[in-house]
């Protein structure tokens, strides 16, 4: 009974999360421009999409910014989390409180504050300002994902590795890193999705030349939405789905192989 209950609850939440997206995808195949009426199956919006330079350019900009910013943020953030974790309690608390600032701090305030900074520093709005801003708002999320893993880790493991003859670097690579890896991966994925998704901050620091996809979409929803955007989101959805499924299958296969090896050793 409780199993049935929990399953249908999960099903309900997933339906809530996915139904609007499926509607969006469904209407990307709609013949007419209308978002309410179904007039028949068509692939014309996909055709149009591949001939729309503005959308394709914005897509490339978004991807470029997200990859660069999330990689840099993950490296900087993981290093920072380890350093902060090793600090004494008082300085750790102080720095973590400041780290919370950009999370606590509404994105819109961060956007306008960076806008003021870039204007006063005389940096032209564009790719550089976008990347700098994205790294800045990604950093806390990486740190906040890695910190709990460091806290939950048994720190004697690291010392044991050292006692068994590891150099600090080896001990870090063999013990700490695998222990906190789930946090790093979560942090990176969050940083990447935040970057892809970000509108609120990019909106204030992008200038007119470098439009990210969300900014372009926003300007389109202000007037009327072109169904090409529906087609694009359908494609993104399918690509992401495939990537995630492949990663998942790969993980499962590796685990099975590991288990086989363990059985063979026994």
């Amino acid at each position: 009974m409780s199993k049935w209950l929990s399953r249908s609850y999960i099903g309900l939440v997933l339906t809530f999360l996915y139904a609007p997206i499926f509607v969006l995808i469904l209407y990307s195949f709609n013949q007419s421009k209308s978002r309410g009426h179904w007039t028949g199956f068509s692939l014309r919006w996909y055709e149009k999409l591949f001939h729309n330079d503005a959308i394709l350019n914005a897509f490339m900009t978004t991807l470029l910014v997200a990859v660069i910013a999330s990689v840099i943020a993950t490296v900087l953030g993981t290093a920072a989390a380890i350093g902060i974790h090793n600090m004494r309690k008082r300085s750790r608390t102080a720095i973590m409180n400041i780290t919370y600032l950009p999370v606590i701090n509404p994105e819109i305030v961060m956007g306008v504050s960076l806008m003021l900074l870039f204007v006063l520093m005389g940096i032209k709005f564009g790719l550089i300002t976008l990347i700098l801003a994205h790294i800045t708002f990604n950093l806390p999320y990486v740190i906040l994902s890695v910190m709990p893993k460091l806290r939950q880790m048994d720190h004697y493991l690291f010392e044991a590795a050292m006692d068994l003859g590891c150099t600090p670097l080896q001990a870090f690579m063999k013990v700490t890193l695998p222990e906190i890896m789930p946090g790093i991966v979560t942090g990176f994925l969050m940083a990447f999705t935040f970057s892809l998704d970000d509108f609120n901050i990019s909106y204030f620091v992008s200038g007119d030349k470098f439009q990210t996809l969300p900014i372009l979409i926003y300007s389109m929803t202000r007037k009327r939405v072109s169904p090409e955007i529906n087609a694009l989101s359908a494609i993104i959805f399918i690509v992401v789905l495939l990537v995630l499924i492949l990663v998942n299958i790969n993980d499962v296969r590796r685990e099975k192989e590991l288990r086989k090896k363990e059985d063979a050793l026994r």
Binding site: L14, I21, P106, L139, L196, N200, P214, I217
Partner: protein, 271 residues
């Protein structure tokens, strides 16, 4: 070995891109257009207090709904087999890869007066119901967009809860409510505080969701700020003052959640 130096690039970055820009906002908020000291911006902000309170209220409702929806879900996930957990978390993260403007736009399609939901009701001769351009639609948009931000931190804490602790509590005679109250909730508190901040902050400061689903009549503080910087009402000084007000609201929220976490930690130490 206790390396602390790895944090220094981050500390430098933070000073340049977080502390200094916030200093600029503070400076702009207490000056007028000519750069002279003035508190006029704050006086002008007072006139907008109904908008400010409306923002706080809607964000609180959205956060509470997210917590209620996410908590049992995250717990459910954390007790499943590793394979199931991975698939379910992927399913939760997948919608986050879609842009929130598109997801919000999708709800416009659903909620419109001649949208899909109203047409469904129309089949039974009901409606059309006024769903779009209401504060309810704004809350729905917030819950829909930010629910994964509540589920993920909760799950990541709960998956670390050792199941034998729960079994031990049951062996010692706890019923399921007592297990929840004495074991699961205290151990998941860090996830709750992270989740609450991660939902409340973007919800209280949004200007897109209110504009797309709330129409013109459900203005939030974010809309006001955006108008001062990029809108026709261009006035960065007033915008900065409103930003300061928004930050104070958020800092109060942060102090409250930190207090909660602090209490749990103290209790943990006593045990």
């Amino acid at each position: 070995m206790k390396v602390k130096a790895t944090a220094s690039p981050y500390l430098l970055w933070m000073a340049l891109f977080i502390i200094i820009p916030l200093g600029l906002v503070a400076y702009f908020s207490v000056t007028d257009r000519l750069g002279n000291f003035s508190l006029e911006n704050y006086r002008a902000s007072l006139a907008y207090s109904p908008v400010i309170f409306n923002s706080i209220w809607l964000a609180i409702i959205a956060t509470v709904i997210c917590l209620i929806l996410a908590y049992p879900l995250a717990y459910n996930f954390s007790r499943k087999s590793a394979n199931h957990q991975r698939t379910l978390i992927l399913l939760i993260m997948l919608p986050m890869w879609m842009n929130f403007l598109l997801r919000t736009y999708a709800w416009m399609t659903l909620l419109e007066n001649n949208g899909l939901i109203n047409r469904f009701f129309g089949l039974f001769g009901l409606g059309p119901f006024e769903m779009i351009n209401t504060s309810g639609a704004v809350v729905l948009g917030m819950v829909y967009n930010y629910l994964p931000f509540m589920i993920l931190p909760l799950y990541s804490v709960m998956t670390k809860i050792d199941h034998s602790l729960i079994e031990a509590a049951q062996d010692l005679g706890c019923n399921s409510i007592q297990v929840l109250k004495n074991v699961i909730i205290p151990l998941s508190m860090p996830g709750v505080t992270t989740g609450v901040t991660m939902v409340f902050v973007p919800a209280v400061s949004t200007f897109v969701i209110s504009r797309m689903l709330g129409g013109g009549s459900n203005m939030l503080i974010g809309d006001l700020i955006e108008m001062q910087f990029l809108g026709n009402a261009y006035n960065p000084n007033l915008g900065s003052a409103l930003s300061m007000v928004l930050m104070v609201i958020i800092l109060i929220c942060m102090a409250l959640t930190n207090m909660f976490e602090g209490v749990e930690e103290k209790e943990g130490m006593l045990l």
